[in-house]
């Protein structure tokens, strides 16, 4: 989305840093406040479950642990994809990009499953402040992951068309930053929302 393919590795910029990468980091700084707001909202409302189920009643820790693990490992594959491209190893780059996208999709699949299970157990979006906050927070995260998957797939298409070359590994790096950030947010969410004991009815 940025114009500055020219300055791809930042030679000649004031800081010696690439504009695009700087842009992504600036953006991630901003995202901290976005997720911070959603997480705080959740924390304020976690014990306000009205007549509906409480978080402690319905969270399925083993299941979420697995999907958290999946997302964590997708960070590994992401970084491997980048490292492959930096070596000029286009084939492995594609493999790892695809794997990352698949792991991401698996995570999203898990989330869809979790959401439908919760719905079946009586936790609708409108059930309580807790339910609204929970679905909104994890939903926002899910949307971020999904956007990441779209970006990964675009990279893959680009690679298949032969335009994702070693010289352009920065693009992968930037998508990677985004991906890792989304992962890091989940590390936070997983601990604070799931593992810290939640109120029960």
């Amino acid at each position: 989305m940025a114009d500055t393919s020219a300055v791809s590795h930042g030679h000649g910029t004031g800081t010696g840093l690439s504009n695009n990468k700087l842009l992504m980091w600036v953006f991630l700084g901003s995202e901290c406040l976005l997720f911070g707001g959603l997480i705080s909202t959740y924390l304020i409302y976690r014990s306000r479950f009205a007549d509906g189920p409480a978080p402690g009643d319905i969270f399925d820790i083993p299941f979420t642990s697995v999907s958290s693990f999946v997302l964590l490992m997708s960070s590994l594959t992401m970084v491997l994809a980048l490292s492959a491209l930096q070596r000029g190893d286009i084939r492995n780059n594609r493999v790892w990009l695809l794997t990352t996208a698949m792991l991401g999709s698996l995570f999203i699949g898990g989330q869809v499953y979790e959401f439908t299970t919760f719905m079946r157990e009586g936790l609708g979006y409108s059930t309580s402040p807790f339910s609204s906050a929970f679905f909104t927070l994890t939903g926002f995260h899910g949307v971020h992951v999904s956007l990441g998957i779209v970006m990964l797939m675009s990279l893959l298409v680009s690679s298949l068309r032969g335009t994702l070359t070693k010289e352009r590994s920065e693009t992968v790096e930037i998508v990677g930053l985004y991906w890792h950030f989304v992962d890091v947010v989940w590390i936070f969410i997983f601990t604070v929302i799931y593992l810290v004991p939640s109120p029960t009815t």
Binding site: G16, C32, L33, S65, L72, M73, S75, L76, H180
Partner: protein, 109 residues
């Protein structure tokens, strides 16, 4: 804000040389996996909150920064990136922690 912007130009040219190897990445991932396993393990072990929560927080913060340092390359990339990210992070933490404090502890009366 001033702290964020001080990186002298062109100092980090060498960044590409000391990128970790894939092997290192896998090791990092294994460590992360183990810590995650430990985190999950707390779920199955009875523990008073006063022990559990600090422990969980510690592990979370560790994972958080471990990913940022290795996978997001903050370890060897320009410190300016770290500064941006950490500024956002610290600001968010302080501001929202204050808000939560106001909500949880100080709202009486």
């Amino acid at each position: 804000m001033s702290t964020v912007i001080e990186a002298p130009a062109g100092e980090h040219e060498g960044e590409h040389d000391d990128h970790p190897t894939d092997r290192k990445y896998v090791e990092v991932a294994i460590v992360l996996g183990i810590v995650t396993a430990l985190e999950v393990a707390t779920y199955f072990v009875e523990m008073p909150g006063a022990v559990l929560i600090p422990m969980l927080m510690l592990m979370m913060v560790f994972k958080f920064f471990y990913v940022a340092a290795w996978f997001m390359h903050l370890r060897f990339d320009s410190p300016m990136f770290t500064k941006f990210f950490v500024t956002g992070l610290v600001l968010a933490t302080i501001v929202y922690a204050t808000m939560l404090t106001v909500f949880e502890f100080w709202h009486k009366g």
